[in-house]
């Protein structure tokens, strides 16, 4: 089996701050994802990457940047944190990235913006 590790687990930022979330996977999966989870809104796709150095925008990419420098890691940057923003950011991976594959999720980074 494998594991997805997200750091940090909790992130507190200030309005306007640039914040970076990190994700590592040891499944050796090709595809990695970043989802945002808000209460009552389910999971919304921010970015995904089908291989090293590839980036694809999801439905919620505005306000975010992503980076896939290695197969095992995928970073997400909040370019300018919004005041009173609270959400959980979930990283996931899958073997190839087809739309019928199992996604394996990390336990999330909980963001609070003061």
């Amino acid at each position: 089996g494998g594991i997805i590790t997200q750091t940090p687990k909790f992130l507190i930022g200030q309005e306007g701050q640039k914040l970076t979330l990190k994700c590592q996977q040891n499944f050796n999966h090709d595809t990695m994802y970043w989802y945002r989870q808000d209460s009552g809104k389910g999971l919304r796709l921010i970015y995904y990457s089908i291989t090293e150095n590839d980036l694809q925008k999801g439905d919620l990419s505005e306000g975010y940047d992503a980076s896939r420098e290695k197969k095992s890691s995928f970073s997400l940057t909040v370019t300018s944190a919004q005041k009173n923003e609270m959400a959980v950011f979930l990283c996931a991976s899958s073997i190839w990235g087809s739309s019928a594959e199992t996604l394996y999720f990390g336990s999330g980074t909980r963001l609070t913006v003061l």
């Binding site: 595809t31 994802y33 009552g40 999971l43 995904y48 089908i50 979930l90 990235g97 087809s98 336990s107």
Partner: protein, 114 residues
């Protein structure tokens, strides 16, 4: 536009009862429907899934019933246990579609009272 809708938002049942979680979708091209289970503080994990060629899928106490004509499906949890208390996400995708296009509902929070 919400492609996948879930109801109820929250459900409380007694231990031993059958919990019924509902899901509906908009896009008739969707043909793969996974359900993910999420415990507090953890990421979602695949629980059970069904393809549109089937109208029922069982795995132990968990059963998906699928109605293609009405674009509805439901997850039945028989003999509910307190350990089943979690948030359940219905998701949908078109298997031949672009990578990463799995659409999630907003989730149903299930509480099982001992």
């Amino acid at each position: 536009q919400q492609q996948v809708r879930q109801s109820p938002q929250s459900l409380t049942v007694w231990e031993g009862e059958t919990a019924i979680l509902n899901c509906s979708y908009e896009n008739s091209a969707f043909d793969y429907f996974p359900w993910y289970q999420q415990f507090p503080g953890e990421g979602p994990a695949l629980l059970i899934s069904i393809l549109s060629v089937s109208d029922k899928k069982e795995d132990g106490r968990f059963t998906i019933f699928f109605n293609k004509r009405e674009k509805k499906l439901s997850l039945h949890i028989a003999d509910s246990q307190p350990g089943d208390s979690a948030t359940y996400f219905c998701a949908a995708s078109e298997r031949g579609s672009a990578l990463g296009r799995l659409h999630f509902g907003a989730g149903t929070q299930l509480i099982v009272i001992p």
